[in-house]
């Protein structure tokens, strides 16, 4: 160690003393979670002086035990780095010692609940590759210490994974962080407003409709009849009533999504670090997620019409992760502007804008197949419905259905474009919500060519690219093209590895 004072992480150190409080809080919460029926019973019961005294003593006993327990947990939890291993000692009576080689540590996540933020501490979680239960988690660590630890681990990884033992230490100075995006309240409101409210209103309405069916047996007649008879609603009045209900649901869902958006993305900070990106957000629970460049599998950004007016995009990173953390690893940055998207693209896919892209449209079969499934099949049902029990409303829908879906699907076909280049794939799609995907060939894990019987007749095929975090599909392209594209990508992956091999051989 060249430094004069060794950093805290090389000697066994404890968490922040706040951890005692947090462990206690967690213990009590889990106790209440398990025994709440008993507590409820005790509260509701008519109490006699004698037994209530007994219960008070029991309560005090439990409290003392939990305090002791959290003290023990705190004092017996120690962590340090020793010979390139992260060591965590824990356990109350049986001592457990967990050691994880530093190069197995995949991601480091900080999280802050409300209590954490009161004391300016963070909980640290480290995801490791390999078996379950080898995850390291610390309840509370001072923010500065946590940051220092993370910086050390990242620096270590950079130095050792690249396998360059020479004196590179000067070069691996931490690259200054660049703040790419900070959302203020106005932007948050816009994000909340531009969410898909029709969908959430639909879900809400569906829930309530099923609820109405549930209470039908209670009222003894159908909810509709109930409205008609008890409330004296005539048919026309019912429709105005329905309109009001829809407006009401829209309003409720707008407010609900607004609130959820603010809670989730409050004070969002999106930062570019030396080797990736970091996202901090949240009102009550503040999450800090990191995306390391080598782990990003592909990028996707999308915008619905309202978001397009405001020039905002919803950006997603798809990252590779262990099996337990699957859901946590797609990172979402709502309200990104083209400037941020460009920065992310440049980091993930350097020089993508200088590359020559060849653009292709899917075959018309794509349109025909979708029109058949979404247009004609429902139309049959609609015709059946109108012819059996006639209703002006359904007649209008039946008449409009086919033109509307045809128009929609045709526009989808026109918008769908696949861009191919030497290094990667660029997909543009969507009519209402337009989205784009950028994928590097080197992230492809496997390829699948698919053909339905109809597609076979037209010599058309679909191609799916599997990555370590989901898949990207391109549809309805000529079979010959799909085959040569597959061969190209395979060659790209396979040759890439061979070149690395050769370099490795030369080095040793």
């Amino acid at each position: 160690m060249s430094e004069s004072s060794t950093p805290f992480y090389f000697q066994p150190s404890r968490q922040s003393p706040v951890a005692i409080l947090l462990i206690l809080a967690r213990l009590i919460r889990s106790l209440i979670g398990q025994f709440w029926p008993v507590l409820l019973l005790l509260l509701l019961r008519r109490r006699s002086a004698n037994s209530s005294q007994f219960w008070v003593w029991v309560g005090i006993g439990i409290t003392i035990l939990s305090v002791i327990r959290s003290l023990v947990t705190y004092f017996r939890t120690r962590f340090y780095i020793h010979e390139d291993e992260f060591i965590l000692e824990k356990g109350g009576f049986t001592r457990r010692r967990l050691s994880v080689p530093l190069d197995k540590i995949q991601t480091i996540t900080f999280q802050q609940t409300f209590l954490h933020r009161l004391f300016n501490v963070v909980s640290v979680e480290m995801d490791t590759t390999g078996a379950k239960g080898s995850e390291i988690s610390l309840t509370a660590l001072d923010r500065d210490k946590a940051t220092a630890l993370r910086e050390y681990l990242l620096r270590w990884k950079k130095e050792n994974v690249n396998a360059t033992p020479t004196d590179q230490e000067a070069a691996v100075d931490i690259v200054p962080e660049v703040e790419l995006l900070k959302l203020d309240l106005g932007a948050l409101l816009r994000i909340g407003l531009s969410q898909n409210h029709l969908r959430s209103a639909g879900i809400l309405f569906g829930l309530l409709a099923s609820f109405a069916r549930e209470i039908q047996p209670i009222l003894g007649k159908s909810a509709y009849k109930y409205l008609e008879e008890e409330w004296g609603l005539t048919f026309n009045f019912f429709w105005t009533f329905a309109l009001w209900i829809i407006v009401f649901f829209l309003l409720v869902s707008v407010i609900a999504t607004l609130a959820l958006t603010i809670v989730r993305f409050y004070n969002l900070r999106f930062v570019q670090t030396g080797d990736g990106f970091r996202l901090e957000a949240g009102l009550f629970t503040r999450r800090e997620q990191a995306a390391y460049l080598p782990k990003i599998q592909f990028l996707r950004w999308s915008a619905n019409p309202l978001q397009r007016i405001w020039g905002m995009y919803n950006l997603r990173f798809y990252q590779a992760a262990g099996h337990q953390l699957r859901g946590k690893q797609t990172l979402q940055v709502p309200g990104s502007y083209p400037h941020q998207i460009a920065a992310v693209q440049a980091a993930y896919f350097p020089a993508h804008d200088q590359m020559r892209w060849k653009w292709y449209h899917p075959h018309r079969l794509y349109f025909r197949q979708r029109l058949f499934i979404l247009g004609f099949l429902p139309l049959l049902g609609l015709i059946l419905k109108t012819s059996t029990d006639f209703n002006w409303f359904w007649l209008i829908i039946t008449l409009l259905w086919l033109p509307a879906t045809a128009w929609w699907q045709w526009n989808l076909l026109l918008r769908k474009q696949y861009g191919l280049s030497e290094e990667g794939l660029w997909v543009k799609s969507g009519f209402f919500t337009q989205s784009q995907i950028l994928l590097l060939w080197s992230n492809v894990q496997g390829l699948e060519v698919q053909q339905t019987l109809v597609e076979k007749r037209y010599e058309i095929a679909d191609l799916t690219f599997y990555t370590a975090s989901g898949e990207v599909e391109i549809e309805s392209l000529p079979l010959s093209m799909v085959n040569s594209l597959r061969d190209y990508v395979l060659a790209k992956i396979e040759v890439g590895a061979e070149e690395v091999e050769k370099v490795e051989e030369l080095r040793s």
Binding site: Q445, G446, L447, T452, Y466
Partner: protein, 130 residues
């Protein structure tokens, strides 16, 4: 299959009338026929190729798919053998890639020795990559 059919016929008589039975059994029979026919079709469509740098698996009749997994993306390889397959000396092989991807390849109903050979081959390829 036929034995079961006859057995059910003999022990039948839940329905008073005869026609529902005929209807049910003919539907069942047709379905069984369809399954056999499909199994045959699918059998002739299925195939695999172990190449120098990747492995290919083709299958499906209605939806024809061809999955290719390069060896340098393989995480681990597994050999499976059920009791029925053991009786016939058959086995299966699964090739797993990273992440939760659907890009895992699995071939079943090949000779056990062949599966082992493929496994050895891939393991050696994967090993030499690193």
């Amino acid at each position: 299959m036929l034995l079961i059919l006859i057995g059910v016929f003999l022990s039948g008589g839940v329905f008073k009338k005869q026609w529902p039975w005929i209807f049910i059994f003919s539907a069942w029979f047709l379905q069984a026929l369809y399954f056999f026919w499909m199994a045959r079709k699918r059998f002739f469509r299925e195939g695999y190729a172990v190449r120098e740098k990747d492995i290919i698996h083709t299958k499906g009749y209605w939806l024809r798919t061809q999955l290719t997994v390069p060896y340098n993306r393989v995480q681990h390889v597994e050999i499976e053998q059920g009791p029925l397959a053991r009786a016939f000396g058959l086995g299966g092989i699964s090739v797993y890639t990273a992440g939760d991807s659907g890009g895992d390849l699995s071939i079943s109903g090949i000779e056990y020795k062949e599966a082992e050979r493929i496994k050895q081959f891939i393991a050696q390829k994967v090993g030499s990559d690193e």
